[in-house]
Symmetry: C2
Subunit: 677 residues, 2 copies
Amino acid sequence: MSEIALSAVATRLGGDMARVRAVIDAVHPAVDGGRFPIKRVAGEPVQVTVHAFCDGHDVLRVLLRWGAEDEAALQEVEMQPRGNDEWTAEFTPPVPGRYRYTAVAWVDHFRSWRHELQRRVEPADIRIAVQMGARLAAEAAARGTGAERQALANWSEKLQRLSAEGEPGALKTLALDEAMAELMDRHADRRLCASHALELPLLAERERARFSSWYECFPRSTAPEPGRHGTLRDVEARLPYIAGMGFDVLYFPPIHPIGRMQRKGRNNSLAAEPGDVGSPWAIGAFEGGHKDILPELGTLEDFQRLVAQARARGIEIAMDIAFQCAPDHPYVKAHPQWFRWRPDGSVQYAENPPKKYQDIYPFDFETEDWRALWRELKSVFEYWIAQGVAIFRVDNPHTKSFAFWEWCVTELKRLHPEVIFLSEAFTRPKVMHRLAKLGYSQSYTYFTWRHTKAELQDYFTELSQGPGREYFRPNVWPNTPDILNEQLHGGRRAMFVSRLVLASTLAASYGIYGPAYELLEGRPRAPDSEEYLDSEKYQLRHWNLDAPDSLAPLIARLNRVRRDHPALHADWSLRFLPTDNDQLIAYAKRSPDGRDVVMCVVNLDPHNVQSGWVELDAKLLGVEPDLPFQVHDLLGDQRYTWQGSRAFVILDPKQLPAHVLHVRRHARDERDFDTFR
Amino acid sequence: MSEIALSAVATRLGGDMARVRAVIDAVHPAVDGGRFPIKRVAGEPVQVTVHAFCDGHDVLRVLLRWGAEDEAALQEVEMQPRGNDEWTAEFTPPVPGRYRYTAVAWVDHFRSWRHELQRRVEPADIRIAVQMGARLAAEAAARGTGAERQALANWSEKLQRLSAEGEPGALKTLALDEAMAELMDRHADRRLCASHALELPLLAERERARFSSWYECFPRSTAPEPGRHGTLRDVEARLPYIAGMGFDVLYFPPIHPIGRMQRKGRNNSLAAEPGDVGSPWAIGAFEGGHKDILPELGTLEDFQRLVAQARARGIEIAMDIAFQCAPDHPYVKAHPQWFRWRPDGSVQYAENPPKKYQDIYPFDFETEDWRALWRELKSVFEYWIAQGVAIFRVDNPHTKSFAFWEWCVTELKRLHPEVIFLSEAFTRPKVMHRLAKLGYSQSYTYFTWRHTKAELQDYFTELSQGPGREYFRPNVWPNTPDILNEQLHGGRRAMFVSRLVLASTLAASYGIYGPAYELLEGRPRAPDSEEYLDSEKYQLRHWNLDAPDSLAPLIARLNRVRRDHPALHADWSLRFLPTDNDQLIAYAKRSPDGRDVVMCVVNLDPHNVQSGWVELDAKLLGVEPDLPFQVHDLLGDQRYTWQGSRAFVILDPKQLPAHVLHVRRHARDERDFDTFR
């Protein structure tokens, strides 16, 4: 058996690769051992750490290897040791797409020899070492070509010639020549090179996958006059309002024809009245399905025009993709094999407990006709991508098969690397994480249900520092058409403001469902319900955008702050600062170059003035511990000068329940007295 | 491309496996994604946790699958959900050897149907559901045989027949029949079954791999009279002394012929004097090499007899395997290609910085003749295994190639699963961990250099709770022939006792180098040296075992306590208890069944009486928070009754600097007043 195993080792290691002494024990980051890609943004450096070592005390060389997924050749970057057998280097994926990275390492006899020689003092030792160096240089010359080959050969010959007679000090200097060492490094003996077993995948996306401000609204409720069904033209007219608030993603619920069979009435009633418009998520009717537009909203041309108009204002239109059918969706007749039929000839309607969707049939992802189903569903994305859509919010992806999503999202991103997918899965943590792992760019979160300081700190520490950050990008929403959280019941302005500030500063991507949010809509269908009363899901609504207490100006200010401050463009730098009052939450974020620092303090109590001390961490805030520094409240436009390890903060919910502070370091030049930069 | 990818998915998933909706996201424990085995002890349960879920809200079934590495068929154990999509089950490897484990999961339509039916109340819903159940039962019948097939078919027929007319309540009862449900479970439809991508390896060893008490001594120093070279017969005569102290592993430095070329003199001097015995690690001379015994020690027959005599006293002999050669080792002439020759015809001697071994040549693991080298080295183990040795302490394994060790240890354990390997690598953490991962049963640790309460708590928390515990089993030594730590300089008894108690109770495996340790030998070669003065590594020593201050009686007591208390037989249960005095360290361990609890308090200050409060954790100690309980000091044979959340402790280094307390719960039966169990 041991003979067999010996030859098995030889085979596994490629014959003489059993002689390889370098070990690559780990390459980080990696998600599930390389089963899924890490996520980054194109144009930004990816830091890689490799655990590598060899037996004994020889010197190792370690190279990071990386390239696009479909490039045959990988680029190499020399990795630097940072102690404890960890090696680091970085690379920058230039454009969105899939990449791979791995590492190689070998025991470098030249570097080992050079390290040895440096500590030699005995003339006899130096002479032997120089002879060995001559041998190594001759071998390197044999691997080189042209002038470099000649230079190495000359150096080898010189070392050999002088080794017996030369003065030891001069010999050592010649042997330690820096330029020759560099040449030797370029012609290293890599025959016994260890390769990491895996090439790890990386998904590089465009910046908006990491930093985005979403606004959701129902096109049918955008008519300027009450009672009329809004149209895509009405949405176009509303673009200045939305752009004025500073959003860069405008997201619509499904805009497709709505089923008439089992149509829901107002307030989710089971029987629709004549004239009831039904739920946009009950997709499909005789007018068409997922590739069609509800005639009342307008035409495909209207849609294309809206996409273009929005883009001109810096706004991208995001589509809701909900893979499910009203009973009268054309798919149901054309592809009955895509649904699971019961003995009585019915299909069990969809549920997402406790919610029941009597107006919706789910697809059967166990259908034997899965190839046709998968192709058709992917073609829905392709159809809208062709109309100019590059962001999709996917409805309840956790009720469709994971194998389908992995294939669909991966394939779409291969051809369209710019496309961004938001996973609308409010479900158990491992399920949400799996969707993020398999390719979703952004994910909904539990922010809506995290209210206290401890809850928020724990959750956002996990999101920004936990292992899931390699693939799970949060997109946080204080409300959605489905979620009027009890905190917002009653429409208390201070609460709406504090949740807005938290969402927009804790996370680089956030969104609101409006105009319900900016107009402080807080009426639930029942006291313990998270559903809106008179929800737009089942009826038209008319909103008074000119209401004097609208949050629109504050939202505009917040989104301006977000745009102006790179500290708020990413999630990982978030750190919480201790306060001595549990109603006051404090945190700071900084830009990758450390030059922009934003610190926030939010009063979580909508009823009472709260005050307390915030512990300042000079290193975190990027200030000198001994010098005063200025903080500029970007919401209230106040300036404060702070010094020392604590700052006193008082926040009145009747005024503004939050500080969003730009931290301005003291200019250390005395000639520039009292200025801050 | 997407067409290609679609068929690639189909191929990868085995055709219709794209229809599989169950997902296995993770199987724990696993080391480096299954690259290396977890380690356990045969006969003890292995707990496995699987992260598994499916899209939507159907019911999953998850099975753990496990078996010996070379068994074709795996056994299956139904896993139980414990919330958060985690499933657990356990299995017990019956005998030492290699095993594998993995998991499968599927969406179970019968269980999903049954779950649905349970909440149905509408008669129409119940009738449809019962019809569906009849269909599922008919399908299950088709998968069954014999009587079970008939029972399922009958049940199906009955459900179908009664579904239209039967009284809904009775119908539901019939459909929810428990016995039929069990039968259905046994004939589940597993066609769309997800398998974890990996079969994870497990290395099951015998109990001594986890729990062992080592005693190291130099056979050549065991002569009863001073000045004579000790023999294996002298060691035999010393067995009662060693068995009396309660050790179960007796370990010798190499017992092979010692080289004469470059032989070291006393106190590591470069020039040996006539009569100097040399270092046992400078292996090989004209008398032979790694498979021979130094003639002065005796014969192979003496060795075999010693092994048998030791075994009769419950002691196993452990051999030191040091793969290196004195310059006059027979290998050097017979296999010059196994060494790296310099231009002057010399071999660079071995080093383990800062130590230099001028009397030792290292092997060149990059030799092109690696196959012969590997085979020969493995045959050294095989030779000694044939002589009855089943425990090897491997010298400096980190200076030999990792690829070699992985092959050698794995192959040896395949044929000899009872063999235990201890890695003597005092080096950087990742290197030590790699050796443990690739198969070493036990590993030396940094215990020797961890002195303060904070250092000890951090280090042993890492060892007992960190991810490395899956494969890294610590074996802790307060001293070795190479390490007389500065704490032991001067031979202060209280320090020797406290380090001994720490070693023997913090870790399930520990060892001492004696008689130096029990005789309080604390003379270093230089004030800042960790080398012993007049070290046995280079000369004979004579020890007075009858010294009145010998620690032998205390060691005997400690090893008895270790043997009697299952709490001390494993590492993972270790938990530290807070004290209000940094010179007092407190911790507790418990047996897997929770019935045996041992708590220790050690005074780390050898000079002063120290006292303070220990915080008691009732749950950890397995006592009732409101009742008094007794602690019995197994060293001092004192008993104390404690109650509440704190206990006062005072320890005088001049007496005993440690409590080793057996925690005795109060008997909760009032009739048994004042007794403890």
